[in-house]
Amino acid sequence: MFKKVLIANRGEIAVRVVRACKELGITTVAVYSEVDRASLHVRVADEAYCIGPAPSNQSYLVMDKIIEVARKSKVDAIHPGYGFLSENAEFAELCAKNGIVFIGPNPQAIRIMGNKTTSRVAVAEINVPLVPGMKENLLDEKHCQEWSEKIGYPLMLKAAAGGGGKGMRKVDRPEELLDAFRATKSESIKSFNDDAIYMERYIESPRHIEIQVLGDKHGNMIHVGERECSIQRRHQKVLEEAPSPIMNEEMRKRMGEAAINAARTVNYDSAGTVEFIVSGESREFFFLEMNTRLQVEHPVTEMVTGIDLCKEMIRIAAGQKLTIKQEDVKMRGHAIECRISAEDPDNDFLPTPGKIIGLRIPGGLGIRDESGMYEGFEVPIYYDPLISKLVVWGSDREDAIARCRRALSEYIVKGIKTTIPFHARVMLNEHFIGGDFDTDFIDTKFNMEDAGRERPDEKVAIISAAIKAFRFDQQNTRMVMATKEDSGGLNPWKLSGRIRSFKNR
C-alpha cells in the first residue's frame, strides 16, 4: 500500500480523499491556491503546499506545479478527485513518467472515454446499446440535413467534447435545424474549444441512470449497482439516489453487464461510471458516456452497498486485487444525496459566495455529511459553488425521503444562501415522492408546482421579524440612554457604529 498520497484537488472531494487515506494509514499531502489557505482540506491533511494564485489555470490545473510538489514531498501516488486534472490523460502519463502512481484508470481508457465520439465507437463494437444516431461527427449543413431525415424529430444535437449539460440542443421541427446546428457548433467551440458535433434521437421522458463499476489491474471487473441522477437543473445533477425508483433486478443485471462490457473495451482498472439515458416510457437504455473518475454522487452507492469506493480505488491503484465478488454486492435500503451549493434558490440560483457565519449540520441515524465548509469559512468566488453534500440512508425510498426531509429541517447555514430550501421543497413534491420524473422535471414542472406552494407559517415569520426589530429598537434606546448618562457629554453619534454592530444580535 502507498505510504503517502497527494490530493490534487480542493473542497469536499479533497476532504473525502484525505479521510479515506487517513483511514488506510496513508500520509496525506494537500495542495492549495492562495485563496484556499483557509480551506478545510488544508486543515485536515498532514502536509500542505501552496501552488499559486486563485484561478485554477494558475494553480489546480498546472500539471508541472502538482508534479513538483509530488516529487518534493516524495509521494507514491496522486489522487485527482473529480474535475480539474481527473480526466486528463496527459497528466496521468506525466505521473507515470515521474514514477508516481495516478489513482485512476490507465491513460488510454481516459483518452478513449473522454471523447463522446471515440467512446461511442468503442462500445458500439461490443453491442452496448447507443442512442440511435451518428457514430461520427457532422461535416456540414448538408450532412446535418441528411441525418435529420434518418433519425427523425425530435432529435438532439450534441458537442462531441461536451459535458456538464453544455453543448446540447433539442430540435423539435425541421425549420429549426440549421439555426440549432450553427448555435450548437458555436457554443461548443466557446465552451470546449472544439466545434465537432453529432446528432442522435431524442429519448422521451429521459432518465439519467448510471452504473458504478470497479475494475482492477488483474482483469477483475464488477458493477456495484446504479444511481438515479434525473433530478437536474439545466442539465446539472442536483440530487441523486440509489437504487433508481424504476429499476428491477433483471434490468439492473442487464445494465450492469452492459456497463462492464463498456468498461472492458478500455481495460478499465479503477472506479468508474457508465452513464445511460433510459426512456421513462419504454425503459430502453442507451450508453451516454463513461466518466473515468470518482463521481460527485459516489456516496449514495457506498451507503446502500457498504463499499467504500474511494478506498477501493486507492487499493486498486496500489495493485491490489478486488476482494469483492459480483455475488457479494448486495444493496440494502435506499440512499439520497442532496448537493448543497452556495446558490440562492429563491433568486434563480445566483451564486452566493461569502462567509459562513453559522453552521448546524444534521445528525442521527442514516445521515452522512460530506462537507468542504466550516463555520467561519469564506466560500471563494473562483470555484464550483458546491460546498457540501448531505447523504441520507433509509430502509426504503419512503423512509429515506422522510429522513432527508427531517435532516434538511435541521440543517442551518448562516451568512450565505444555499440550496437547502430547494431540496426541502423537492422532498415535499408529489411527483418526486412518486418517483415520477425525468431529466426535465425540475426545469419544467417542479418550478411551477413549487411557486404555488402554501406558506402556512407566514404569521410565525412575521412574529419573528417583528420581535427582532423590537429587541433591536429597545437595545438601541437603552444604549443611547446609557451613553447620554455615562459619557458625560460624549457625542452619542460617535457611537452609532457601535450601535449598528449590535443590530445583528
Binding site: 453559522g358 473562483y382 406558506r455 415569520a461 412575521i462
Partner: protein, 171 residues
C-alpha cells in the same frame, strides 16, 4: 411598539410588547400571540407560541428588511416603525423612479448586452456576470433607458457595486 410588516405586497399591522423577560405579546391585525422568544445561537431563535415550538433563522439583511428561514421556507419581511412609514410615503419611489442596478455578488463582468442610451424592456438582459464558474444574468427591473453604464467588460466587481442606471421613460 407599533410596526407595519410587509410580506409579498401584503401589509400587516403589528404591535409588540415585552410582557416579561424573553416573553413577548404580539398582535398581528386582530390576533394576539404570546411568544416565548429565546436566542439559541447567533441569529437563530427558538420560539414557543402556545406550546408550538419553532426554530427560526432571522437575519436583518438590510435596513428594515428581515430574511426569515422557517421549516425550510424562506420569507423576506419588511418591518417598519409605524411613524417612519408615514414619513416614507412622501419619498415613495418604487418602480416609477430611477433604478440603481447593483452587482448582487462579487464576480467578473463577462459581457455587456446594453450600452448607455439604449432602451430596455422590463426583464431584458443588461449584463452577464461571471462567478463561481457560472454565468449570471443581470436584467432590468423596469422598462426604460440605460442612462449610465458603469460596468466594463472583463473587469472585476465587488458585491453591491453600481453596474448601471436605468431611468423610466418619461410619461
Amino acid at each position: 411598539m407599533a410596526y407595519i410588516a410587509t410580506f409579498k405586497d401584503k401589509a400587516f399591522q403589528v404591535k409588540v410588547e415585552e410582557s416579561k423577560p424573553g416573553v413577548y405579546r404580539v398582535r398581528i391585525n386582530d390576533e394576539d400571540y404570546e411568544v416565548d422568544f429565546f436566542k439559541a445561537q447567533e441569529n437563530i431563535y427558538s420560539l414557543i407560541i402556545d406550546n408550538q415550538s419553532y426554530e427560526v433563522d432571522v437575519d436583518e439583511v438590510d435596513n428594515d428588511t428581515y430574511s426569515v428561514m422557517l421549516k425550510g421556507d424562506h420569507f423576506d419581511i419588511q418591518i417598519i416603525d409605524e411613524k417612519k412609514k408615514k414619513l416614507d410615503k412622501t419619498f415613495a419611489g418604487g418602480r416609477g423612479k430611477r433604478q440603481e442596478i447593483k452587482s448582487p455578488m462579487a464576480g467578473n463582468i463577462w459581457k455587456l448586452l446594453k450600452n448607455q442610451g439604449d432602451t430596455v424592456k422590463e426583464g431584458e438582459l443588461l449584463i452577464i456576470l461571471e462567478a463561481m464558474k457560472m454565468e449570471n444574468e443581470i436584467r432590468s427591473p423596469i422598462e426604460g433607458i440605460v442612462t449610465s453604464m458603469n460596468a466594463v467588460e472583463g473587469t472585476a466587481v465587488s458585491a453591491g457595486s453600481l453596474l448601471c442606471l436605468v431611468d423610466p421613460h418619461k410619461k
